[in-house]
């Protein structure tokens, strides 16, 4: 394992429930001075700037940050879909024969040429899992996502939210070591969202997966996460880590009435607000300087 240089002292203290396990927890993912730049028309755009993170095994890690700050890019790099421009990251191999990671992609990512069932079974089929096992697993998650009746439908026959649920069922079915979820519930109604929150927490609890979860909903972040990373906007940097101090299992409704809950949410909200204002400023500056140049 490579030495992780991220400044641990700088981090908030860990939550109550995790405190006891601090000594036994092992690092699952460590990201080290990671930077990602995109070139376009000769100009270089920095999407991620010097990111350092350590994520423990079994941690529910949430990323929040303004739109366009590089959340998706970070997840894609960790999934091996994009190369970092500099810096490095390392992921501890799974002990079991589980796949390393599965991603719920932002936006449409289910195959238009496969039925709902085939899409949900994709990962398992790639790993040549026995047919009967696939049937059980996929059947379970299609039922959980309310898609059983649509198993034979093709994506173009589904609504936006239904397509997103297929993508979730696909990732859950694959039973990976690390779940990478990029705004997985954004197109779902509150009720479906709640059902899937429960299912996600059940899976996480039972299989001790490491989860990386991107969301724009601070409520969702605080309700689900162990630890929340707040990112700055363009270029995306780590603004702060917030440890969520609530024990598990959490009673969502009860939680929301606690004053600490309001405090955590308010804290994150404030930091984000500041970020967005900053980025609006920056955007304006850039626009002005651009206008100035075009004169």
């Amino acid at each position: 394992m490579t030495t992780v240089k991220a400044d641990r002292a700088h981090l908030n203290s860990r939550g109550a429930q995790n405190e006891s396990s601090t000594m036994t927890s092992e690092v699952k993912i460590s990201v080290d001075h990671l930077t990602k730049q995109f070139d376009s028309k000769g100009k270089t755009f920095t999407a991620l700037d010097d990111i350092n993170i350590t994520i423990d095994k079994g941690q529910f890690f949430v990323i929040v940050g303004p739109s366009g700050c590089g959340k998706t890019t970070l997840l894609r790099i960790l999934a091996g879909l994009e190369k970092p421009t500099s810096g490095s990251f390392s992921i501890k191999e799974a002990a079991s024969n589980r796949p390393e990671n599965s991603m719920v992609f932002q936006g449409d990512s289910i195959f238009p040429w496969m039925t709902v069932w085939e899409n949900a079974a994709y990962g398992l089929n790639m790993r040549n899992v026995p047919k009967s096992e696939i049937k059980d697993t996929v059947g379970h998650y299609l039922s959980k996502t309310g898609l059983t009746a649509f198993a034979d439908a093709y994506p173009h026959q589904l609504s936006g939210g239904m397509r997103q649920r297929v993508s979730i069922a696909r990732a859950f079915s694959n039973d990976p070591d690390i779940l990478l979820m990029d705004e997985p519930f954004s197109a779902l109604d509150e009720q479906n969202k709640t059902l899937l929150h429960e299912e996600l927490l059940r899976i996480w609890d039972e299989t001790r997966k490491t989860v990386l979860f991107i969301t724009h909903s601070v409520d969702e972040a605080v309700t689900l996460g162990d630890r929340i990373m707040i990112m700055t906007s363009q270029p995306g940097r780590v603004k702060a880590f917030v440890d969520v101090p609530f024990e598990r299992p959490r009673d969502v409704l009860e939680l929301r009435h606690r004053p600490e809950y309001g405090e955590v949410v308010y804290d994150i909200w404030q930091q984000l607000k500041q970020e967005v204002n900053d980025s609006a400023e920056k955007a304006k500056e850039r626009a002005v300087s651009k206008a100035a140049r075009s004169h």
Binding site: S102, G107, D108, F111, W113, T115, Y122, G123, M126, H156
Partner: protein, 273 residues
């Protein structure tokens, strides 16, 4: 107030959505498909009778159909057709399979694409008429040389359209397959081929047509039967009607192949309504 209980004109700008079998003029697609060629043939017939067209070289369709009747009755037409169809069949597969494999590989892998593009782009435009004598030398005068000629015709459009189709597949799908640990073969099977299928089918239609074009050239040499031979020989003998019968039969075959491929497309792409 706009009363829009049945919005019109949607099908004009909305090609991919299922639209009714009848269009706004109440004319069904099938009627149009059969009607257009029939109308053209009738105009041709009329022009011949009016003397507006040189009937020595463009004989009236009626006389062509009469000749066709004779050739069918004598079994000659069928003999030529059968010879060509067989060559077409074997040549089709011989060209198709390597074209799809190579097309997908070139689409998926940049080094393979770089290495093979010059060969494909360079050999494609070589006049097949010039190649024929060399093919005869290599494959002999028998069936094989004709089959190879068809295969060459099928190969190029399929390989190019497959490659371009594979490159056009939205990158997110390759990301998904990679993320879900698909082996190269599975990427091939579950992403590249189905994603490129519409392009591949167009390539196959173009390829089958080029195969037909080339078989006619191939049958001008070392053949005693086949539609190409029939057309060429008829022209040598200035048996104009017979030549048109041959051309007409090839045209009909081309259209039947297109219809058949459209059915195959529906079958291999069930996700396209």
């Amino acid at each position: 107030m706009t009363q829009t209980s049945a919005p019109l004109a949607a099908q004009v700008v909305n090609p991919a959505r299922r639209s009714p079998k009848k269009n706004k003029f109440g004319v069904s697609d099938r009627v149009l498909a059969i009607g257009t060629p029939v109308v053209l043939l009738l105009i041709w017939e009329a022009f011949v009778h009016l003397g507006a067209i040189d009937a020595r070289f463009f004989p009236a369709p009626s006389s062509i159909f009469m000749r066709m009747g004779e050739l069918i009755a004598s079994g000659e037409l069928w003999m030529h057709m059968w010879a060509s169809i067989q060559r077409l069949f074997y040549g089709f597969w011989l060209g198709l399979v390597p074209a799809i494999v190579l097309g997908v590989l070139m689409g998926l892998s940049r080094p393979i694409r770089s290495a093979l593009s010059p060969l494909v782009s360079g050999t494609y435009p070589i006049p097949k008429s010039a190649l024929l004598p060399l093919i005869l030398l290599i494959f002999g005068l028998g069936e094989m040389s004709k089959v190879v000629m068809v295969a060459i015709g099928v190969f190029y459009p399929v390989v190019m359209n497959t490659m371009s189709g594979v490159v056009q597949v939205a990158p997110i799908y390759y990301d998904v397959s990679k993320n879900y640990g698909a082996s190269k073969w599975k990427v091939f099977k579950t992403v590249a081929i189905p994603g490129a299928m519409p392009s591949i089918m167009t390539g196959i239609e173009l390829g089958a047509g080029l195969g037909l074009i080339l078989i006619a050239i191939a049958e001008m040499m070392g053949a005693q039967e086949g539609l190409g031979f029939m057309i060429w020989n008829a022209w040598q003998l200035f048996s104009v009607e017979t030549m048109y019968v041959g051309i007409f039969v090839i045209a009909v075959m081309g259209y039947i192949i297109a219809l058949f491929l459209a059915e195959v497309a529906k079958w291999v792409m069930p996700w396209k309504r």
